[in-house]
């Protein structure tokens, strides 16, 4: 009970603090600050950010919030419906589902963040390389991407994981990252190609800027905003994908909990243990939806050209 009060206080405190937090207005706001202001003016987007912060804080503080470890088996209390002691019920082995969901977040969320970070990095590098390369090299590089994109990512992952067996968590992050960068590379490549025609790029060239300087000072800062948007939407996507793999039993391996494999644990006896899929499912939905809403709002905030059309 005490832990619940603490959790409620924490969430409330975080939201209150975030709502009160103001950036001092600048006389001449730069593009990033303008975008920030625009983003903060969107109610649903800010709500989803608060929600995400709260989720991260609560999962990070799991050890202090729950009185059961995620792997504690209480056979006498197996498959119990939600009660005050076990607010999310218990699973077939008598493990506390609330604890498993919170500790599962400690796995599912970092997996999503890190794999998207990896994917965005590879995608940006590949896309920038293709965009700056000659027509022919660019053509070959992009045809390859087209081909890889035609294989649905889920099936690619199923094939790799089914055949190469149970992955460790770092391996899973690596796999999700390595199969997720194709879309980003397309976006970056298109942006870089468009930038090449800009006059100020020519000016940088004429002033004798080195290739490296052009890349770091002029090209990358300009492609950053679509990459940020794609990455934000990508996290939402990966949360779903990781859950799906966990549900198929080829993602994060038990007894380590992840949102997907908790649902898998309950799926064998679906009709008797509804709490086993409802609660982790809600965690997945809330996370994915928050990232999608925030991603949409970021796109509107970072690309003012589109706002009129939406």
């Amino acid at each position: 009970m005490f832990s619940w009060l603490l959790a409620a206080l924490l969430i409330g405190g975080v939201c209150w603090g975030a709502a009160r937090w103001r950036v001092a207005p600048a006389a001449h706001p730069g593009p990033w600050r303008t975008a920030m202001t625009r983003f903060r003016s969107q109610g649903p987007a800010m709500a989803s950010v608060y929600l995400l912060v709260a989720l991260v804080v609560v999962t990070a503080l799991a050890p202090w919030l729950v009185s059961f470890a995620p792997t504690d088996t209480l056979i006498a209390a197996s498959e119990q419906a939600p009660t005050l002691t076990h607010p999310f019920g218990t699973d077939f082995a008598g493990r506390d589902v609330l604890s498993r969901v919170l500790y599962g977040g400690q796995v599912s969320l970092p997996v999503a963040f890190l794999s998207v970070l990896l994917a965005a990095t590879i995608g940006t590098a590949y896309g920038a390389a293709a965009g700056l390369a000659s027509e022919r090299v660019d053509g070959i590089m992009m045809r390859l991407i087209d081909a890889v994109l035609a294989i649905p990512r889920l099936f690619l992952l199923i094939a790799v994981l089914a055949i190469w067996g149970n992955p460790s968590v770092p391996m899973l992050i690596l796999l999700l990252g390595l199969t997720g960068w194709f879309g980003v590379s397309r976006i970056v490549r298109a942006e870089v190609r468009a930038l090449r025609g800009e006059e100020w790029m020519m000016a940088a060239d004429a002033l004798g800027a080195s290739r490296r300087r052009t890349l770091w000072r002029h090209v990358l800062p300009n492609v950053l905003s679509p990459v940020i948007v794609a990455a934000t939407l990508g996290v939402g996507n990966i949360v779903l994908l990781e859950a799906a793999l966990g549900y198929l039993g080829i993602g994060v391996q038990p007894p380590t909990p992840s949102w997907g494999n908790i649902i898998q644990d309950g799926a064998q006896a679906l009709f008797t243990v509804w709490w086993m899929f409802v609660f982790p499912g809600l965690a997945i939905v809330l996370t994915a939806m928050s990232f999608n809403i925030a991603g949409d709002a970021l796109r509107d905030a970072l690309d003012p050209r589109q706002v009129g059309q939406r």
Binding site: D146, A150, F155, A162, G165, G249, L270, F271, F277, V285
Partner: protein
């Protein structure tokens, strides 16, 4: 298209061959299996000889449409596929038709009343469904409509073995059993279509020809349906190419959860039972299906867009 097929073939070949140990090495742990027997099996399934020869024979085999044999089903993969694929196509076809009809309608309503409460509510609902894991929605639908309310039968298999009963009863039976999986699959795609349709409508309604239409006195109704909607349908056609792989991925979970014996069910089963030959063939098949889907979407786009026809 050719590149895709070549890449997928290469991938499905190396996925198995580069895996630690071939599918037969586990057999050697069984004392009753002699090494000679394993060697014979290897030869039979094309797992002996240098890797480049294996690859050549694999490509030749796939080119003839021979996908090898499934270890667990003890049947040719091709026979399994030709039995299961029509069922998946039925499921996907119904879901595709439902979701596009529904999604376009919702998108039109949203764009027509853009910024209103109706638009916002529909947008939020679409966003919710868009963020749902497909397997989770299927579990929830199965739990609520199949178990709690008990509206639809939760098992699938008998529907296909009702030989003696008249066709209308079989049709009713099939409809009852297909409702939940089709609705689940359709809901997920509807959200995507609605979001796309709405932004396409808003995009078109800002164009000059819409203003011209209004200026010359076309009714609001006429503007919406004859000028905006017709042009906004074009980008949605490209969505067909995108929706196809999404539906295919969704069908894996939905078939599994509703025990619908299609390709998706076969895939999950192959993963669970460790049947690498079948898994890799299915991945190859999916890639080819997606490539065909994209090609069809491109062709359809050319048919619907008169500008492309004029250029060709």
């Amino acid at each position: 298209m050719g590149v895709v097929v070549a890449l997928a073939t290469t991938l499905s070949f190396f996925l198995i061959r580069l895996a630690p140990g071939d599918p037969f090495s586990a057999l050697l742990e069984n004392p009753r299996v002699s090494p000679e027997h394993v060697a014979r099996l290897r030869a039979e399934y094309g797992f002996d000889g240098p890797i480049h020869e294996q690859f050549a024979s694999y490509v030749a085999r796939v080119a003839r449409g021979d996908l090898g044999d499934s270890f667990t089903h003890r049947r040719p993969v091709r026979a399994l596929v030709s039995e299961r694929l029509p069922r998946t196509m039925l499921l996907m076809g119904l879901a595709l038709a439902t979701s596009f009809a529904l999604g376009i309608a919702i998108g039109v309503v949203q764009a027509w009343r853009a910024g209103s409460a109706v638009d916002k509510v529909l947008g939020a609902v679409a966003m919710f469904f868009y963020s749902l894991p497909d397997f989770w929605l299927a579990l929830v639908v199965l739990y609520i409509f199949g178990y709690k309310l008990d509206l639809f039968p939760t098992t699938m298999i008998p529907a296909f073995h009702l030989g003696a009963v008249p066709w209308w009863e079989r049709l009713g039976e099939a409809a009852a059993r297909l409702t939940m999986p089709v609705a689940t699959l359709a809901l997920l795609t509807t959200a995507l279509v609605a979001r796309y349709q709405r932004s396409a409508m808003l995009d078109v309604s800002g164009r000059d020809f819409v203003r011209t239409a209004r200026a010359k006195g076309v009714t609001e109704h006429g503007v919406l349906f004859r000028h905006v909607l017709r042009n906004a349908l074009l980008p949605v056609v490209t969505l067909l190419g995108l929706a196809f792989p999404a539906l295919l991925a969704g069908s894996v979970f939905i078939e599994r959860i509703f025990s619908y014996q299609g390709i998706g069910y076969l895939t999950v089963e192959a993963v669970r039972n460790g049947d690498p030959e079948l898994v890799s063939s299915l991945v190859l098949l999916m890639a080819v299906l997606v490539a065909i889907g994209n090609l069809l979407a491109d062709l359809l786009y050319a048919v619907v867009d008169p500008r492309l026809r004029a250029r060709a």
